[in-house]
């Protein structure tokens, strides 16, 4: 944590709140409207965000079709084509897309992201995920999800090959999962190499991040959780010959901001009211990697759950919160539905800035990945209310320092 905080604008469907699409001011056709995304990207760029961030899954989010049809998350743009379009409609902001190591090949992925990097003049980043969803697996010939450890073994080799290709190599890779014969046929990256982003928070995920990532996104609700994660990950870097500042840790934050605290609360409650119970429970189930929450009374406590092969770190977080706050399934479902286990702040610009400042200066974050509740309204609210407050406090840039994503993030150009 030094200097100013980094900010990502996490764009997702109609908004991060599960019921965002039903909000009267949400742009409900976001998933088929490129002009909407161009406008969001320009808003984020005008506010000097370091980057736009797109998550991704190669399949539906929800196996239950009835539930899926009550959310806006079954359709949307494929993010690499989306960011390629945005690359030539913006000039400074970083463009980070998620892509899976389980359903791609390193040569093709390295080449595609390098092309995005050239289209944007050095503003591309890749968020590595290993894909935990059996719905995705069924679109790629797999009969079942691979165990957590196997996925990470493949991801580690994948990351090594991709970074090798970006740095001009390799002359022949023949490994456990991949073989690559030639170097890439594109010129080198304008920023040395596209930025490597990761989000896995399990032990093996943290090690992979410490070895290869430039930026780490994470979910942390309390200051203590955020600080523990921050110290743990920064502490792992020395083993790989890296400095603490070589990784930027950016927890997700789900703000709901308005001119007054009462307005902000009202806005949040309005969204919560729009969540159908079955949608909330389904979402909670998917984050817990379980399918039988339905069998338990909705006003009763969370049952004991087996450790998942899916997202270990997220599951632990949800269970911990349910025990700590004594929440019923319904209340937990509503609680998680909007922020998806991320940190929520509801209040004025000053209150939001206070909270961000405390985590930033307290050594629990290098910046934040901002998850607006619905689009475009809540991104606008953050850009026009919170960003100027952070700038006034000297906590956020007023102008971009450079032209590449690495320059914005203060990352060293790889040699």
């Amino acid at each position: 944590m030094t200097g100013q905080m980094k900010l990502g604008a996490f764009l997702w469907a109609t908004g991060h709140h599960i019921a965002a699409w039903r909000h009267p001011k949400a742009h409900v056709t976001a998933g088929i409207d490129i002009d909407h995304y161009i406008a969001l990207a320009r808003t984020a760029e005008a506010a000097k965000f370091d980057m736009i961030f797109c998550e991704d899954a190669a399949g539906l989010r929800e196996a239950n079709v009835g539930i899926a049809s009550q959310t806006s998350r079954s359709i949307g743009f494929e993010p690499i084509s989306l960011l390629s379009a945005l690359a030539v409609q913006t000039s400074r902001i970083g463009l980070v897309s998620t892509a899976s190591t389980s359903y791609n090949e390193p040569y093709g992925l390295a080449r595609t992201f390098l092309s995005l990097d050239h289209l944007s003049g050095g503003r591309a980043g890749w968020n590595l995920v290993t894909s935990a969803s059996p719905i995705e697996a069924a679109n790629f010939g797999a009969t079942g999800l691979k165990p957590h450890a196997d996925r990470y073994e493949r991801a580690r080799e994948f990351a090594v090959v991709v970074t090798g290709l970006w740095h001009g190599g390799p002359s022949g890779h023949d490994g456990q999962s991949f073989s690559v014969r030639d170097p890439l046929d594109l010129p080198p990256s304008p920023q040395g190499a596209p930025v490597m982003v990761q989000a896995g928070a399990s032990d093996v995920g943290r090690d992979l991040a410490a070895r290869t990532a430039d930026v780490v996104f994470t979910a942390a609700q309390t200051f203590e959780e955020a600080k523990a994660f921050y110290d743990d990950l920064k502490g792992r870097l020395a083993a790989y010959g890296r400095e603490p500042d070589d990784i930027k840790i950016m927890p997700g934050v789900a703000p709901v901001v308005a001119e007054t605290e009462a307005e902000a609360r009202e806005k949040f409650e309005e969204l919560q009211e729009l969540i159908p119970d079955d949608v909330g429970v389904a979402l909670l189930s998917s984050y817990l990697s379980t399918s039988d929450l339905w069998r338990h009374p909705i006003d009763g406590p969370l049952p004991e759950l087996p450790e998942s092969e899916g997202m270990k770190s997220r599951q632990a977080l949800v269970i911990e919160q349910s025990r700590r706050d004594g929440l019923s399934i319904r209340r937990l479902a509503r609680h998680f539905a909007g922020a998806r286990g991320h940190w929520r702040i509801v209040g004025t610009a000053i209150q939001v800035a206070d909270e961000l400042q405390a985590r930033f200066e307290g050594g629990a974050a290098d910046g934040f990945n901002v998850m607006p509740a619905y689009f475009p309204g809540e991104l606008d609210a953050f850009a026009t209310l919170v960003v100027p407050e952070l700038q006034r406090r000297g906590l956020f840039r007023k102008e971009y320092e450079g032209t590449t994503l690495r320059a914005h993030l203060g990352l060293r150009r790889p040699s």
């Binding site: 039903r22 079709v65 959310t71 359709i75 379009a85 030539v88 790629f140 014969r181 046929d185 594109l186």
Partner: protein
């Protein structure tokens, strides 16, 4: 006649064009109401490419700086999984408001498999069967959402109609893909599929699946028979000979006589050897300028090529079924 322009952005022996230069070329072709531009993509062969861009990402960017012209990207069935490729092109089609297409080849690129963890490659027969299965999956995924599936009903809480979203449930010799795609249906129903690299054994596959066949220019005497044979195959598979447009690829050299080119195109077209042409142009702006400024006016004067676009989608330009505004 239908006209495509193939931009060989990856040609060797010269500096790669910038995005701005490529965009200017494509806008020039759009001003001339060319049906579509085909962006090649090459993985390393013996000669190294000079382009900084991969074709699908380039087409996404080009879609935002053009309004009418069709945009095809070459993409290999070896480098992408079918689900990923279907998503990429479905997304390109929405970004471009119904102007995107996929140029797939039935020919194996020699060094490709070796960079995609398949050092053993594929036998010709396996590659053919695999490609046919692959195309079927991609088109099946593109067809997974009905045109009226999205409801956007905020107060009723119904984003889409679950009855109008269809699983693919494909299980074949090479792939199994459950679906559905997580990208909405294309504004032109489906991205255009142009098949190239066709051997004799591929022609029935192309007749069943393609919207456009890109053929090499052959000897004049066999051309009419070749076209008639293709249309018979299309008729047998689709009951509509016009369901597939046959374009003959013509390479324009840097220096040529416009009147002679116009004569040649007219002769081949009037002899019913094709539905149009795929003009392969080296990535030098002057060659396209010459074609647009000197050959096309001549073709228009002879009543052989449109003066302006009638519709807004690529299917509409090509006179294909579907296409939203045909």
């Amino acid at each position: 006649m239908h006209l495509a322009v193939s931009l060989d952005i990856a040609s060797t022996g010269q500096a790669g064009l910038t995005f701005g230069e490529i965009a200017a070329l494509v806008r020039n072709a759009e001003t001339a109401s060319i049906d579509m531009v085909i962006i090649s993509d090459s993985l390393p062969g013996d000669e190294r490419s000079s382009s900084p861009f991969e074709a699908t990402t380039l087409v996404a960017a080009l879609a935002t700086v053009t309004e009418k012209i069709g945009l095809l990207a070459a993409a290999s069935t070896v480098t992408h999984q079918p689900y990923n490729l279907a998503r990429r092109f479905a997304s390109l089609d929405i970004i471009s408001h119904g102007r995107a297409g996929w140029n797939a080849t039935m020919m194996q690129a020699p060094r490709e498999a070796g960079n995609f963890s398949r050092p053993e490659g594929f036998s010709d027969d396996d590659f053919r069967r695999r490609t046919e299965e692959y195309i079927g999956i991609v088109q099946g995924l593109w067809d997974g959402w009905d045109a009226d599936a999205l409801l956007f009903d905020k107060s009723g809480g119904r984003f889409h109609d679950p009855e109008k979203m269809h699983l693919l449930d494909h299980k074949g010799a090479f792939f199994s893909v459950r679906g559905p795609l997580n990208v909405a249906r294309s504004p032109q129903d489906m991205p255009v599929l142009a098949l190239s690299g066709l051997a004799a054994a591929d022609l029935d596959i192309a007749a069943r699946t393609a919207d456009v066949m890109l053929l090499e220019d052959g000897p004049a005497e066999g051309a009419k028979a070749r076209y008639d044979d293709l249309k018979r195959r299309v008729m047998a598979a689709r009951h509509e000979p016009d369901a597939v447009k046959v374009l003959t690829t013509i390479t324009l050299a840097a220096a040529y006589r416009p009147a002679a080119v116009a004569d040649r195109l007219e002769e081949q077209f009037r002899a019913k050897t094709c539905d149009g042409f795929n003009i392969l142009i080296p990535a030098q702006p002057s060659v396209l300028d010459d074609f647009v400024d000197r050959v096309l006016p001549e073709l228009r004067r002879r009543g052989l090529f449109r003066k302006s676009y009638r519709g807004t989608t690529l299917r509409s330009h090509l006179g294909l079924v579907g296409g939203g505004d045909l």
